[in-house]
Symmetry: C2
Subunit: 345 residues, 2 copies
């Protein structure tokens, strides 16, 4: 190691993956698209591609069993993987599940986890086809790989956005992050005084957004029915800003995103303000909403106009015009990804 030591947080999560995988080249002709999108693309047959993606959830990093019921955790672990297949405009069909678990968990705890996985499999119509279970020295880790399928002429990557395309997002944003703040507050209250019961009343929506997110398979179905193939797509796992920048970087374009267009639920806004947080900042940097962010050609605007599940939040510009977040007064600030960086202390 030549005595050189570079700390992991120097590169950030995406920088680290890029750095570690930059020397790998695709050699098999069945490998259509490798690292760098929501899922890899693999040749299946004349008409279809396979899609494959992996996500790992770790106790203490991605979830806290103090407030995350195991059944919800199982559901969420599947949903976030299915969401990656949605982001390629595909349909998830199979998953494998790897669990590492310490002796402190009884069989009954894993049964709850698998109950949640089963409900998700039924909701998203995916089959559990494999996986393994092993012990860990501490905590619980769930690694899920999802396999999906998409017609070749409908696959959507991060890289297809072009100037003048509209930027669209499904559902609403920021809820999962604000829900997490509520859960963290109640955890702190509980730790200070275990006799006080957690008070989540009135926070069903945002707490649900955090604990039991959905993969937007319905949006993929809508788009198909409307005859719209997005030019680029990604799911919102790390926050809107980070995802917009991923699309801009992969597509080599710029963008204008409009502050007042970003869809935020009333419950999210009100609770954010209670926490002295700016709702828009929660939407931009919060993450874990698992909505779909996509770009469409302007000619498709009429098809999605008025659809309550989709909101146009901006448009794509030339690369040299930069990537901007425009506020109500028309002043533009450069978009920066804050998102998550798990390697920071």
């Amino acid at each position: 190691m030549d005595n050189k030591r570079t700390e992991l947080d120097k590169l950030g999560e995406f920088g680290l993956i890029d750095h570690l995988t930059e020397k790998f080249k695709l050699k098999n002709k069945s490998s259509v698209l490798g690292v760098g999108d929501d899922a890899a693309i693999i040749e299946a047959n004349d008409k279809e591609y396979f899609l494959i993606s992996t996500d790992t959830l770790l106790e203490g990093i991605h979830f806290d069993l103090m407030y995350m019921p195991l059944k919800h955790l199982g559901y969420k672990a599947v949903a976030v993987n299915v969401s990656d297949i949605c982001a390629m405009n595909g349909k998830a069909e199979q998953i494998t599940v790897s669990i590492a678990v310490s002796n402190r968990f009884p069989v009954e705890a894993l049964e709850e986890l698998y109950d949640g996985i089963k409900v998700a499999c039924e909701n998203f119509q995916v089959d559990l086809v494999g996986g393994d279970t092993s012990s860990s020295l501490s905590g619980l880790a769930i690694s899920i790989t999802v396999v999906g399928r998409v017609e070749k002429d409908k696959v959507v990557k991060r890289s297809g956005a072009k100037e003048n395309d509209l930027v669209v997002v499904s559902g609403d944003l920021g809820g999962a992050y604000v829900g997490l703040q509520v859960l963290e507050r109640e955890k702190a209250v509980y730790k200070a005084n275990p006799d006080i019961q957690p008070d989540l009343s009135g926070h069903d929506y945002i707490v649900g957004r955090q604990l039991k997110p959905e993969a937007r398979v319905d949006i993929i179905k809508f788009l198909d029915e409307l005859g719209v193939v997005p030019t680029a797509m990604i799911d919102v796992s790390d926050g809107l800003a980070s995802e917009v920048l991923h699309i801009c970087k992969s597509s080599e374009v710029g963008c204008h995103i409009y502050d007042e267009k970003v869809p935020i639920d009333g419950a999210t806004s009100m609770t954010a303000i209670d926490f002295n947080l700016d709702p828009n900042t929660c939407a931009l940097n919060g993450g874990e909403d698992y909505e779909l962010l996509f770009t469409i050609d302007q000619k498709d605007y009429d098809k999605i106009k008025g659809n309550p599940h989709m909101t146009v939040i901006g448009h794509i510009t030339d690369k040299n015009d930069g990537r901007y977040y425009v506020d109500k007064n028309g002043s533009a600030i450069e978009l920066r990804a804050q998102g998550w960086n798990h390697f920071e202390d």
Copy 2:
């Protein structure tokens, strides 16, 4: 949880997976074979199936960084996954790699790990197409998913063995386990006195078997060239006894395995004896050899006869005849899987 608590080690690793997944049914028509073989089988096109398998390696459970160089670990993590595709008579083509790592590792450590992954990708002709990297609270975890392909008329499952088939194993067995004993001994010596350098001289072969196992892609190629499609196959990850029993259980057959036929390298035998271990017991229960265990129809015997890479070690019998290990004196003892049970203390 109804206050009931069943400890994980009650069920064992395979019993636990069976228990957790028994309620899951395959529903998508593209899901050809689910949990319970070395890889799942997914419909690809008229001629081919897609194969998928996941394996996770955890620090402190599956490897010890005191003696496992990170580059070897990266190589091994890929090899053990490729081995699962070999066990289906398929060709591995893509992998995804999920890494969870604590702050105690610098970027340079992950570079070494990925160097090993890269060498394995080149040797086994697989492409790295995806994955993620996140922090862990302690230690290193590597979860790899491998995707492969096989012609439909050549896919081999655990379940196809039939009475009178021959039981064949590639290479030799027990080396990885005995190699581990050497490494553990030198670790103990080093811990007692860090000034003493580890002495691995004369143990290259068995230490290599433990630290840098190979997936037997060459055997799959040989079998193809010889025109042999095994009737059942599995890779030897948990020890010969456990794997033979998996084939017998899936195929609903019995077997006779002959003690003196089991191929054991001279270096393995000699070192086993130095450790007061019976070499045959190491082969039966040691595991991690990643050789291929398969059954062939008797009509194919002439094709593999005399091949130095393959040894006939027994034959398949009727289920009611039981599963026996026959020693040099002709006395038969019932085969029992001891293998690994990671959940035991």
